[in-house]
Amino acid sequence: MASRLFEETVVPHLDAAFNYARWLTRNDSEAEDVVQDACVRAMRFFSSLRDNNARAWLLTIVRNSWYSRVSRRREIPESTAGDHDPVERPDDALDPEERLLQQYTVARVRSALEQLPVDFREVIVLRELEGLAYKEIAAIVRAPIGTVMSRLSRARERLFTLLTPSDSMGRLP
């Protein structure tokens, strides 16, 4: 049954879809709309899923859905309101002071990532948070592998500058 197959192959990647959409839009409700659009499209084009990489396939559709919403509005949404409490994975083994420090670090990383231009931000999210290979990222963002690599490289330069306090150059936890 098609719907069961869809649930078994695509729905398990809903978290990945939402995480990607959330980083693209930087907004909870918009990310939800994007993923919902994407799922409707994914159901419609389910037969086009040829290889077994359902995650990359779904993420491609998420990006297309986001892109068509943005181009319909002719702008890149750049609101910065974070209205969602993300899973910040506090480490229970830490004492309260360390945990506070950890939360501070997570907030700083989140803000640095959100400041990146979307082309850079998405390759970092796909590589560092989803752990995708260059080939998969290239297919999702529709760019040659060389472009993916150079975006990653430039994105990391920027992140390094943003996350390294000027008084302690080169020191990262």
Binding site: A2, F18, N19, C39, R89, R127, E128, L129, R156, L172
Partner: protein
């Protein structure tokens, strides 16, 4: 190999996308060159830092919406399953054994339980009475139903009661008790047992887990997107409360 080549291959090296020869060449250069070693170390630390960024999991509401769509709009899945159930009914009629009816009844009931759960999450109508106090929730049903659903407090083991509401299941009014596990919602539908109640059921449907049992003349259906193990823990606790 010069430092320039390390710099050029740095991104792919960090991402383990270099071929073995190139990676080996860089590694051997690193043993000799402190400056490059430092550069790679910094970038590895940056990678660890970036990976501590929030991972946004799909909200339960979205999951419910997608699940509802999967089953209704595009695919004829629902019709297929109804047709299958109808075939089974006919087969049972011809084959004279009534036992074969049982799975069909179960499937329909499981479907309805999942529908009820999804509906409660979508309509934002999770509660008629919102309270974490079993002594508030239980009396609320008095006069609204002709039975008194048992209401347990399981907050001590991490399943706080958050409220209750009236719902319909299998064409009859039921008590829906709402519990939570972190961000997951658990609906427990309670009604008096009927003679055609199925035996205990443990099933997954559309990404939700459903468990059914009967006790003291009451029939229980628990449903959640919670993982199987935790839902089972919850059900055990409810059965022994």
């Amino acid at each position: 190999m010069s430092c320039e080549l390390v710099e050029r291959g740095l991104t792919a090296y960090l991402d383990r996308e270099l071929d073995i020869d190139a990676a080996t060449a860089i590694r051997s250069h690193l043993t000799d060159c402190m400056a490059c070693r430092r550069l790679v170390g910094e970038r590895e630390a940056l990678g660890r830092l970036v990976r501590s960024a929030p991972y946004y999991a799909a909200p339960e509401r979205l999951r419910a919406r997608v699940s509802a769509r999967t089953n209704r709009s595009i695919f004829p899945g629902r019709f297929v399953s109804l047709a299958a159930a109808a075939t089974l009914l006919i087969a049972a009629g011809i084959g004279t054994t009534v036992m074969r009816l049982a799975p069909a009844v179960n499937i329909t009931m499981v479907d309805q339980v999942v529908d009820g759960h999804v509906r409660s999450l979508m309509a934002e109508h999770l509660f008629d009475v919102e309270s974490t106090d079993q002594h508030t929730v239980k009396p609320w049903f008095l006069g609204k139903l002709d039975f008194a659903p048992p209401v347990a407090d399981l907050s001590s083991i991490g399943f706080p009661l958050v409220g209750g509401r009236l719902d319909y299941l299998g064409g009859q009014p039921v008590a829906a008790l709402v519990y939570r596990r972190q961000k997951h919602t658990i609906n427990v539908f309670v009604s008096p047992s009927k003679s055609d109640d199925p035996a205990d059921v443990v099933r997954s449907e559309r990404g939700f887990h459903v468990q059914h049992w009967a006790r003291d003349g009451m029939s229980f259906w628990a449903v959640s997107d919670l993982n199987d193990a935790e839902l089972t823990q919850f059900v055990r606790a409810l059965q022994t409360s």
